[in-house]
Each structure stands twice: as C-alpha cells, then as structure tokens.
Amino acid sequence: MKKPQVRKLFAAIGIAASLSVLPGCAVFDGIGKVQEVANKPVDMAELQKDAFALKSIYAGALRLGIVYLERPRCGQPTSPVICSEPAIVAQMVKARAVAGASVESADGAVYALGAQPTVAQVVVKAAQESVNAFKLIAETYGSK
C-alpha cells in the first residue's frame, strides 16, 4: 500500500473511531452527572427552603381554588353563566387533599430530628409534584 493510501486509511479509521466513541462519551458523561448528583450531599437548609416555597405555592393555589369554589354550582336551573362544575370541584378537592398532606409531610421531613436528608429529599420531590398538580387545576379554573 502506498503512503497516501495508508494516511487515508488511518484518517478514515480515526474518523470512524471518533464517531463511534463520541456518543459513548456522551453516555458516560450522563452517567457521570447522575453519579455526581447521587453522591452530592443533600443540603437540609436548602430542603427547608424548598418546603417553605412549596407551602407558599400551595397557599396561592388554595386562594385560586377558593375563587372557583365560591361560584354557584352549575347544573341548577338558577345557575348563572359563570359557575363551578361539580366534577371540577370534586377534582380540585381531591388534588387539594393530596397536596395538603404532601406539603405537611415535606415540612415534617425537613424539620424532623434525625431525619435522613435523602429521605427528606424524596418527600420534598413528591410534594412538589402534588402541589404542581393542584396548582395547575386551581390556576386553570380559578383565574378565569
């Protein structure tokens, strides 16, 4: 094989190798980040702030929910045009119950003596999801 052909061959092998390795690097990078997050010590003060902010969002969602719930119920002969649907009311009540309980759990988990930070982190994350679900319903119907 002549020298230029050898060079081309090595260049091709190099390009192929880098193409096949790059996505692999991205995967390793992703795994590295997951490990980094997993190994990062959980800051209890940050979790306490998170729980506090979540409770504030929950308070705001409650207020918007009240706007909707205080309207007369729909489906009655005397119901006005702007009214609250019983099905939505039921959905809102369920979402509020879950969000309220999870916010209290998060508050308890981040202030409990001897609480495991990783457990508290999971409880706060779960509370965030249920508060978001309640906020979504409350904002959708309460801010109209």
């Binding site: 940050e46 702030k49 506090f52 929950y58 308070a59 705001g60 207020r63 009240i66 719930l69 965030q128």
Partner: protein, 67 residues
C-alpha cells in the same frame, strides 16, 4: 440556581393572578424573599405566619367546597 429560588420565582409569577383573585399577597411576597439563595432557612416566625395563612385558606377552601 438552587431549587428554592426556582420555586420562589414560581411563587412570584403567581402574585399578579393572586392579586386579581383578591389575595393579600404580602405574606407570600415575604416568603419569596425568605427563600432567596443568600438567605438561610426560613425563621420560625416566617414559618408560623405561613402556617397560619395556609390554615385559614384551607378552612375557607373546605367550606367553599361544601357549597
């Protein structure tokens, strides 16, 4: 940016809607300021104020749900 500050921004973004809904947002705004990145964890007084606000709202929510 910490999770707390992201949540605080979320609370702040709700404030105009809450004012429209007739809420006295002073306490919520205090909550937003309390969880900024530089601040330490909320004080007992701040927590107590927020707890009282939530309890009042929950009672009103539950009463309104009963119709």
């Amino acid at each position: 940016m910490g999770a707390a500050i992201v949540l605080a921004i979320e609370v702040a973004s709700m404030i105009p809607t809450l004012i429209d809904a007739g809420m006295d947002v002073y306490q919520l705004w205090a909550g937003v300021k309390a969880v900024n990145d530089e601040a330490g964890p909320p004080t007992d007084a701040q927590r107590q104020q927020l707890n009282e606000l939530v309890k009042g709202l929950e009672a009103r929510f539950d009463a309104a749900a009963k119709g």
